[in-house]
């Protein structure tokens, strides 16, 4: 987990908002309301690290109505990622729910490469996404400077697309030129 961000983040222990098993759409909606309260109680926090310890199972409907819906609702403003999703069956169900909602969610695991649950980035922006994943934050100019044949404008377009699609977060920062530029943040 040492590769994760230093951006304001909190742990969200999902088990505290649900039973041991997450079954069904109605139960998912009840859990979602509690999760929404938790997020509202943490203004200023950009990243919520969802921990699944104690969660035995979730079905796809429950997954759709909880973390996936939370990420979709807060897209571009706040990010949600998993940090201990090791169960392959659970991963399949979160993946199916994220795919249906076209909402990417990062999954970070100790000693393993981070993976995207849900839709992957487009072919044209995947290089920018991989670059962003290696850093806690990145500017378009940094990416453009590291690549051949990528202009700053082109890099900005890629990062903006990734932000709009829910792969990255961003915040405004002062540019060296005196204006404003965007700093893009990975989720996790």
């Amino acid at each position: 987990m040492s590769r994760m961000n230093q951006i304001p983040a909190v742990d969200l222990r999902l088990r505290e908002f649900m039973d041991e098993e997450g079954w069904g759409r109605a139960a998912g909606r009840r859990t979602y309301q509690k999760l929404l309260g938790f997020v509202d109680d943490h203004p200023g926090i950009l990243i919520f690290r969802v921990m699944l310890a104690g969660v035995r199972r979730v079905d796809i409907s429950f997954a759709s109505e909880t973390v996936v819906e939370l990420a979709r609702k807060h897209r571009c403003k706040k990010g949600f990622c998993f940090v201990d999703l090791v169960d392959s069956d659970q991963r399949e169900n979160w993946q199916a729910a994220a795919l249906r909602a076209t909402q990417p969610i990062m999954s970070w695991n100790r000693n393993a490469k981070p993976i995207v649950l849900g839709p992957g980035p487009s072919q044209g922006s995947s290089d920018a996404f991989m670059f962003a994943l290696e850093r806690s934050e990145v500017r378009a100019a940094e990416f453009a400077g590291s690549q051949r044949n990528v202009s700053i404008t082109n890099a900005s377009t890629k990062f903006k697309q990734l932000w709009e699609q829910g792969f990255l977060l961003r915040r405004e920062a002062a540019a060296e030129s005196g204006g404003v530029e965007y700093v893009y943040l990975r989720v996790g």
């Binding site: 098993e21 139960a27 199972r57 079905d59 069956d89 249906r100 909602a101």
Partner: protein, 261 residues
């Protein structure tokens, strides 16, 4: 066999609910099905108004065998008025006992749990009937075959889906029953729009990994899907139409586990 028993149970309860006088006659030879039905709890879920010949079993056999026979699991009633949150877990627990020597026992149990969870949740969400649904799991001896079945007595999956599709996706609405059932499980279609329906698709994806056949009985048709390399496809579907009316949606996945793991 379990799936047939559950469908028969739904039919009898539907006939009884529609004020018909129903008699089921088991005056049969020694190898008849009555002892089997008694053991899986069929008569405990059968409406008390249905007349059983030669006599209605007491129900003690189901109580005696409940959870103790690894090759049979009882029918579980899906109480519409009081949701039992432990139902999918109770149904799948038998897999651990019956298939404990299989290397893929956990994967199998998790797949069955997700299928039960999604299908039973659909009974609560979509079936729109006062009659209870039923779920059943049967693991055959030596763990070579597993059946996962869920039935309800509602309007039927396609009868609720088609009207919604007419406005949102007319091309899909125009598909035949077979093609539409395939798309329900392949794409994940829902009357609630494109953001929903992923549950049934997820069930199918898990079942296809085990090469499971999918059998869907609709009010007057039955579709049997045999998976190929592309999962469930129309060219590997068998349809039986103009069947006797049984209300509801009756879904059964049959996992043929011979030679696996």
């Amino acid at each position: 066999m379990t799936d047939a028993a559950v469908r028969l149970l739904c039919l009898l309860n539907q006939l009884d609910y529609s004020t018909r006088r129903v008699t089921i006659n088991f005056e049969e030879k020694k190898d008849g099905v009555l002892p089997y039905l008694e053991r899986i709890g069929f008569f405990q879920s059968l409406s008390p108004s249905v007349l059983v010949l030669p006599r209605r079993p007491s129900g003690f056999a189901a109580i005696r065998y409940r959870g103790r026979n690894p090759s049979v699991v009882e029918i579980q009633r899906i109480y519409r008025k009081q949701r039992d949150d432990s139902l999918p877990k109770r149904l799948t627990r038998a897999i651990t006992q019956a298939c404990e020597k299989r290397r893929d026992v956990k994967e199998l149990e998790e797949a069955a749990w997700t299928i039960f969870a999604e299908l039973i949740d659909n009974v609560f969400s979509h079936s729109e009937t006062p009659l209870d649904g039923f779920a059943a799991l049967q693991v055959y001896p030596r763990g070579n075959c597993l059946k996962v079945a869920v039935s309800d007595s509602g309007f039927g999956m396609l009868d609720t889906l088609r009207p919604a599709l007419k406005n949102e996706a007319p091309k899909l609405a125009a598909l035949s029953d077979v093609d539409l059932i395939v798309e329900v499980f392949r794409q994940g279609l829902s009357r609630h729009g494109s953001g929903r329906g992923c549950g049934l698709k997820g069930c199918a994806d898990k079942a296809v990994k085990f090469g499971a056949e999918l059998d869907v009985r609709l009010p007057s048709a039955r579709v049997l899907l045999v998976p190929g390399s592309q999962g469930y496809t129309p060219n590997r579907a068998f349809c039986f139409s103009d069947l006797p009316l049984i209300w509801g949606t009756h879904v059964c996945f049959t996992f043929n586990l011979t030679g696996r793991s």
